[in-house]
Point group: C2
Chain length 135, copies 2
Amino acid sequence: MAGRLDHVNIAAPDAGGLARKLTEALGMEVVKETVVEEQGVKVIVLDAGGSHLEITEPLGPDTPVGRFLSKKGPGLHHIAISVPDIEAALAKMKAAGIALIDETPKIGAMGNRIAFAHPKSFGGVLIEIVEGEAD
Amino acid sequence: MAGRLDHVNIAAPDAGGLARKLTEALGMEVVKETVVEEQGVKVIVLDAGGSHLEITEPLGPDTPVGRFLSKKGPGLHHIAISVPDIEAALAKMKAAGIALIDETPKIGAMGNRIAFAHPKSFGGVLIEIVEGEAD
């Protein structure tokens, strides 16, 4: 199970404004725009050549991303690593002593199965595990 | 010029410890370990399937990464986007009104030409531009 970087997530108060800057200045392309009501976010995904940049804008201040912005300000929020088998990955992470936020997979913004590990286990980095095809 | 995500950088007080966790828990592989004296960092690079995770550990508190750790704590530090022609990319960024930390390219830890844009121009995200082959 070798992890592949699936995406980098950025928390932003204005996802559209940041996406425009990335397209104008770096030639990146928006590939998806969606609202995920249950997570309280608008999501814009840009192609980054094999992986993606995902920008999340909170729908209100009392949402997980809204609280992150109030506390830490805008910027890098988490990275996602894709694995072929999420149950196997979670079992391996538990065996390695990693604290998991999600002990079992849930459905992510892109419709695939995901789980988050606690940042205290990875040097302050919030890591999302995404089930996806092996590269 | 479509940007490709080249690497994600993590600032850590103990790069070796974090690299071991990523290899044990996520099956990632270390592909390079180096010390860049002029930047005051030890660098460990892990393969992430087409892109890389780069962990930088400061050689002392009075270095750019040492000061970042004191101020913000460990975690995600910057992302790097590779472009085929760094001069063309910098000209395009300037034309788009992006504030640049490096107006002209310098040599990065991996020996290629790089430049940093100011995080205020990209929603609090520090972005490094790396000259590399097109994908």
